[in-house]
């Protein structure tokens, strides 16, 4: 078997992370670096715009549902923890446990999506649309791009879950990359929540 290509399902010792290996492979970290740069650019644009129109942005920020935002943070943090447990279970070749953890992580992710849909529906009901070119553009756009990441993450979790259920092997690197990505989705949300919902 090629270096760094260790299948889940082989003896647990083979899956111990080695010091010389990047978890998930270098590729996923390049993706994260570019993606974080992108979100940083969005947040930077937000801050520049906010500095131009502080009153309008402050007034708009006052209308967003911080409580739901907090709940969403909890959902994603829990999802991240459960995904980490899933990877641990995969490393110990506990297929059934890994499957359950993956399912739980996905369920928390779906709960986030539903909560987000509800939050946006309420905002739109109140007439807060992104068409104004100000605060709400960032609120919906950053949230929407993040939501797209959550949906991609859910697809990855579903794929991993299917592999666990069918008894198929997963490259250790692929499993790690999937979970690292899911952690990034969580971290991005925390940055987004702090920048757009909380920062005055």
């Amino acid at each position: 078997m090629a270096d760094g290509v260790v299948a889940v399902g082989s003896p647990a010792r083979a899956l111990e992370p080695r010091a010389s290996r990047i978890p998930g492979g270098a590729g996923i970290w390049i993706f994260l670096a570019v993606d974080f740069t992108y979100f940083t650019a969005i947040f930077a644009a937000f801050m520049v715009d906010r500095a131009d129109r502080p009153e309008a942005f402050a007034a708009a920020r006052g209308t967003v549902d911080v409580l739901t935002g907090g709940l969403n943070t909890l959902l994603l943090l829990s999802a991240s923890y459960v995904a980490a447990r899933a990877l641990r279970a995969m490393r110990h070749d506990e297929r059934r446990a890994a499957g359950r953890y993956l399912l739980a992580a996905a369920a928390l992710g779906v709960a986030f999506v539903l909560s987000k849909a509800r939050e946006w529906a309420i905002e739109l009901d109140h007439g807060h649309s992104p068409g104004d070119g100000g605060f709400y553009v960032y609120y919906y756009f950053a949230g929407g791009m993040h939501l797209l990441h959550v949906l991609i993450g859910l697809a990855v979790l579903a794929w991993l879950h299917r592999r666990m259920r069918t008894g198929a092997a997963v490259r250790a690197e692929a499993a790690e990359a999937g979970v690292v990505y899911w952690h990034m989705v969580d971290l991005l949300w925390i940055l987004l929540f702090a920048t757009i919902y909380l920062a005055a």
Binding site: A2, V5, G25, A26, G27, I28, I30, F31, V34, D35, Y38, A41, I42, A45, D49, P130, G131, D132, G133, G134, V137, Y138, F141, M145, L148
Partner: protein
């Protein structure tokens, strides 16, 4: 097809970026761009005042853009090295590439026409042509995003030992596709970062796309160095030159047949 030809095609990428940038920066000088919040009269006045430099800029850009075709074809060919069986991913790349080049060439027509008749037609007409150009420039981003994503997926799906392009480049390309795709939202905005003169709709996708192109060129260039043959049937067929040793090791029998050559 040999390495030199593939490299010549790859070199058209940076050349395209250079000529395009000259057209944009020195020709139209659209930094910042005349955006959707400008009145028709103000836009028309710009076209009248800068008619010639606009026309030079558009001409340079429309000359640069077709160079995307040989560059993208070389990239598709190199990524094809790792694709097993029927080359459907490479075909998908080529079709999307054709679509991108077609759109990218066509979009200069309304801008060129606006400059061509600047001052002779109404401000509204010039303004409409100007905005049509912008909608064509940015709203048509989906084939670009899908092209980049298909290239990335093709790399990730191919066996590691057979793919000449690195996997990290595939991940980078996926992030790039995600970064440029939202530009298609411009039709919903007349102000702010997602309007067609905005940071998230224009500058970030445009600059990041050209940066991605340069990275792709370097990565593909190295892949050509690594791979002896860039695609099945594309083996370098030049006759192999076997060097004839000047000195023979001591004690080795001198073959009779080469005596005439040795003189």
């Amino acid at each position: 097809m040999n390495r030199a030809t593939v490299r010549a095609c790859l070199a058209t990428g940076p050349l395209m970026a250079l000529v395009f940038a000259i057209g944009w920066i020195a020709g139209t000088r659209w930094i910042p761009v005349p955006g959707p919040s400008m009145s028709a009269e103000a836009v028309a006045a710009l076209y009248v005042d800068h008619r010639v430099s606009y026309l030079i800029g558009f001409t340079l850009m429309v000359l640069a853009v077709p160079l995307l075709a040989p560059w993208g074809a070389a990239l598709a060919l190199i990524s094809r090295s790792g694709e097993r069986g029927q080359p459907v991913v490479a075909y998908a790349q080529l079709v999307l590439l054709s679509c991108c080049v077609a759109v990218f060439v066509t979009l200069y027509m309304p801008w060129a026409l606006a400059a061509y008749r600047a001052g002779e037609v109404s401000a509204e007409t010039t303004h409409t042509m100007h905005e049509l150009g912008w909608i064509m420039f940015i709203f048509t981003v989906p084939p670009f995003a899908l092209w980049i994503a298909v290239l990335a997926v093709g790399i990730l799906w191919s066996p590691r030992e057979e793919q000449l392009l690195p996997r990290w480049f595939a991940f980078y390309s996926l992030a790039e596709a995600l970064m440029i795709a939202p530009a298609a939202l411009i039709v919903f905005f007349k102000t702010g970062p997602l309007a067609y003169d905005g940071f998230l709709a224009l500058w970030l996708p445009l600059v990041s796309f050209f940066v991605w192109m340069q990275v792709a060129t370097v990565v593909a260039w190295r892949a050509v160095t690594r791979g002896a043959a860039v695609a099945p049937g594309a083996v370098d067929r030049r006759p192999t030159v076997v060097p004839v040793a000047c000195l023979r090791p001591v004690g080795e029998t001198r073959p009779l047949s080469t005596s005439a050559v040795d003189g």
